[in-house]
């Protein structure tokens, strides 16, 4: 409560003002106290001075009394024993003299001989002053006597002076009483001051002003009385008998042999402190005005300069909190702290507004993106299906409706297991779902699968699908893209059937070719064998012509046999190889060159092979056929004195290496380049160049079986260059490794 009270800005300002005024207040009070102290000291000093002055006046009075008495002892009227004359004299003497209460001659026994006063009763000879006079025969002063102790009923100081006889004996005592009434006049006292004389019992002997009210009464017991009776001189602040607070200074009266009365001078404190109090009051009043003005300034200034701005800021903050993002403080951004605060606040508000705008824009973009995604999903050619962790369908797009026959509103909320999963797979589906949620193990997730799904009408549909889990917080859902692959399956089956048929017909063809050639070779063998036997066994029975015919039959059958063999080779090499391996072209070419060594040496020919031919992917038989035929042809169709065949690498492009086989042979006219590769195509008479004419056909079929191509560049007389492209082994290996990875 207090904290909240002090948390108010205005309250704090007020407190600050008060704190600021406090030292001034302290200073004023301190100054006031100081001034009072000074004034008190001054007053005490004055009072003491007056008291001492009064006391000393009393002392002078005693002295003058002594002189008076000493003088009177020499007055005959006094020393004569004529009481009447004495009385008259003394009465005259005392007339108008109020300083003494009375004066008289007292016999040693106390009898009053004569007196200024009409006294009849003897005086108390037991009083000390009287005895002292008798004993010392000197002037003696008695203690103050209170009114009850005197014959006159007035307070007085008694004196005695011996009247000595001629022989020096005390004849009588001249006694006088010094009146204390003169104190009552106190002519030197400042206005407002009081003077009191008390005896050692505290009884007021005299006083000013209004002595008649107080004389004879005892000073009330209290600090003042104690302090005075302690002896003095001293000062004290106390209430007087009239109850007025005063500063008193007191001294013992010195006229008497021992302190028996005291004079106290009192200044009313209100008078003493009047100036100081006045100053203090004035200063405090001034300070109060200043403080009030400061408070007013703090309150109004705080209102004008602080509160208004702070409240504006608070209001803007509240508006901002309430969602009004364009709220600004509306305050000037000056250099002051509040200006900086306002600038900071406005900048913050602007930043928040900007961020909110960005956020809203992002949300809008996200919403649009979601909308777009939804549209894409809706329009997708594939079915999009989502299920939650319990297997309940949550998403079902148009394509899913078309494929499975359930419309969206029917499908959503149903178990996937109750809709498109065939009866026999349902348990496995639920088990798999459970296992994934428990262990995170989902072997069928994140990959494409082909399964059989159930249409609403009960028929089974082959589908391709990929399922992926989506985590949202602590729950999982699963989405799948499902494709109806019925048509593709049908096409695939058709293709597979065709491929099978094709393979079958290829096999049939090979078998056909094989059996044809085999069967063809059988009669040929007979022909060959028996013409040979005829030649061997009956040569002597045939003439030259007959033998020539037989030789022709034999040659023809041999050529037929070669053609059949080459047809067999062609049919074998035209198939794709059963398996392909890394084949070193360098080694194959080296082997071919070695097998042709006899021919090379016989004709002074050369086979040049580049180093570092790359390995290819194929099978050895086909690669041997390709390079064997090309090199053999290069040497065969060659009239050069130094037939040369050069084998090298032309280029490597993509996955293929292009090899070339260049000869310096007879060359081929461009118009024949295409038909060169036909089976049993010959450009030259058999007599000119041997061979069946199947070599290039075998090269072409073998190259194509390995996935390559063959072509040539040639001009008649300028030799020929054959190009063969074959798959690079390194590239194929890299691809396989990549697939494996």
């Amino acid at each position: 409560m207090i904290r909240s009270f002090f948390s108010g800005l205005r309250v704090r300002l007020v407190v600050l003002v008060l704190v600021a005024v406090l030292p001034a207040f302290g200073l004023i009070v301190w100054t006031g106290i100081d001034q009072r102290r000074e004034e008190r000291a001054s007053a005490e000093k004055d009072a003491l001075r007056i008291a001492q002055l009064t006391a000393s006046q009393e002392g002078q009075s005693v002295e003058s009394a002594r002189q008076l008495l000493a003088g009177l002892t020499h007055v005959p009227q006094v020393t004569n024993s004529d009481p009447a004359a004495c009385h008259t004299f003394l009465a005259d003497l005392m007339t108008g003299n109020e300083q003494y209460t009375g004066i008289g001659v007292v016999a040693v026994d106390g009898t009053v001989v004569c007196s200024s006063l009409p006294l009849t009763s003897p005086i108390n000879v037991g009083l000390p002053y009287f005895q002292q006079v008798l004993r010392t025969r000197e002037f003696a002063v008695g203690g103050y006597l209170s009114p009850s102790e005197t014959l006159s009923g007035k307070p007085l100081i008694p004196f005695g002076y011996p009247v000595l006889s001629e022989d020096g004996e005390v004849q009588a005592v001249l006694a006088a009483g010094l009146s204390l009434a003169w104190f009552n006049d106190a002519p030197d006292l400042p206005i407002g001051a009081v003077l009191t004389v008390i005896d050692r019992n505290g009884v007021i002997l005299a006083g000013y002003p209004e002595p008649e009210d107080w004389v004879g009464k005892a000073l009330p017991a209290g600090s003042l009385r104690e302090a005075i009776l302690a002896g003095g001189p001293g000062t004290a602040q106390a209430s007087g008998v009239d109850g007025v607070e005063r500063l008193y200074a007191f001294v013992p009266l010195t006229g008497t042999p021992e302190p028996s009365a005291f004079v106290a001078v009192g200044f009313s404190t209100s008078a003493v402190f009047a100036a100081a109090n006045g100053t203090l009051t004035r200063n405090l009043a001034g300070l109060g005005v200043v403080a009030l003005l400061a408070l007013a300034a703090a309150l109004f200034g705080g209102q004008a300069f602080l509160l208004r701005r702070v409240r504006a800021l608070a209001a803007a903050a509240e508006r901002l909190r309430a969602g009004q993002l364009n709220a600004r403080s509306g305050l000037p951004h000056d250099q002051g702290e509040l200006g900086q605060l306002a600038r900071g606040f406005d900048a913050m508000a602007r930043a928040i507004e900007q961020r909110e705008a960005d956020h809203r824009r992002d949300e809008e973009a996200l919403r649009e993106s979601e909308e777009r995604t939804r549209k894409i999903i809706e329009a997708a050619y594939e079915a999009f299906i989502s299920i939650d962790g319990d297997g309940v369908i949550t998403e079902w797009n148009a394509r899913a409706e078309a494929i499975f026959g359930w419309n969206r509103s029917e499908a959503r909320g149903k178990l996937l297991a109750d809709t498109i999963i065939p009866q026999e797979d349902r348990e496995a589906h639920l088990r798999g779902l459970k296992r994934f949620l428990e262990t995170g193990d989902g072997p069928i997730l994140h990959k494409r699968m082909e399964l059989t799904a159930l249409h609403r009408d009960g028929h089974l549909i082959p589908v391709g699908l990929a399922i992926w889990p989506v985590r949202s917080g602590s729950t999982w859902s699963f989405s799948a893209v499902v494709e109806d692959i019925s048509e593709r399956k049908r096409v695939e089956e058709q293709l597979a059937r065709r491929a099978e048929e094709l393979a079958h017909s290829n096999a049939e063809l090979e078998s056909f070719t094989y059996s044809i050639s085999h069967d063809l070779k059988e009669p040929l063998r007979t022909l060959e064998a028996f013409s040979q036997f005829l030649l061997e066994d009956y040569a002597d029975k045939l003439d030259h012509q007959g033998r020539d015919y037989l030789v022709r039959i034999s040659n023809g059958s041999a050529r037929l046999k070669q053609m059949i063999e080459e047809l067999l080779t062609l049919s074998r090499l035209g198939q794709r190889p059963e398996e392909t391996n890394r084949v070193s072209v360098s080694r194959v070419v080296a082997n071919v060159a070695a097998s042709l060594q006899a021919t090379v040496e016989g004709r002074g020919a050369a086979i040049e092979v580049e180093d570092g031919l790359p390995d290819i992917l194929g099978d050895r038989t086909r690669v041997e056929q390709i390079f064997g035929n090309l090199i053999t042809n290069g040497l065969k169709f060659n009239k050069s004195t130094e037939p040369t065949v050069h084998i090298g690498l032309w280029e490597m492009a993509d996955d293929m290496a292009v090899f070339y086989v260049r000869d310096n042979g007879i060359g081929i006219e461009p118009q024949y380049h295409q038909q060169m590769f036909g089976v049993f195509q010959r450009l030259h008479r058999r007599e000119e160049y041997g061979g069946s004419g199947a070599g290039l056909a075998i090269v072409k079929r073998a190259t194509e079986a390995l996935g390559g191509q063959v072509w040539l560049e040639s001009e008649p007389g300028a030799g020929a260059t054959f190009f063969v492209s074959l798959p690079l082994w390194a590239k194929a290996e890299a691809r396989v490794l990549q697939e494996v990875a």
Binding site: H518, K521, P523, R525, T526, E528, A529, F530, F533, L568
Partner: protein, 145 residues
């Protein structure tokens, strides 16, 4: 010939061949050779099995064509090699081609040699030389008692 007695009886050669031309060619090759032989001809796979199962004396050598009606030559070879009685009879396969897979199949099933047809003198002689080694190493020489 008979004067030579059993010691010099002609070796019994069982030729399994359905083509009469090839039978004639093979007979000529044996005629040309120094081997004194008696050629028995079977025309198909079943016939040769029946013949081998009969009381006829066991042949010293079988020339078996791979391509035969009914049972193929390789099937016949397999049956011979599985038969305890017949398993040691030397068998030379006759093939129309020298396709590597045919040759390999022959040896795998236990052929002693093979001859690419036509069975002319030189080829027969080379095959018999190979067989001579076999006879020395494994089997009883047919000319010994």
């Amino acid at each position: 010939m008979s004067g030579n007695g059993d010691r010099f009886r002609p070796i019994r050669v069982l030729l399994v061949e359905d083509n009469p031309d090839d039978v004639a060619i093979t007979e000529r090759a044996f005629d040309k050779s120094a081997v004194v032989s008696r050629l028995i001809v079977a025309r198909d796979g079943q016939e040769v099995l029946d013949l081998l199962a009969s009381d006829e004396p066991r042949p010293d050598l079988v020339l078996l064509d791979m391509k035969l009606p009914k049972l193929s030559g390789l099937e016949v070879l397999a049956k011979i090699r599985r038969d305890e009685e017949l398993s040691t009879i030397p068998v030379i396969m006759l093939t129309a081609s020298n396709r590597p897979q045919d040759v390999l199949a022959s040896y795998r099933l236990g052929a002693n040699s093979y001859i690419q047809k036509p069975v002319v003198f030189e080829r027969l002689t080379r095959a018999l030389e190979v067989l001579g080694q076999y006879w020395f190493d494994v089997a009883t020489l047919p000319c010994s008692t």
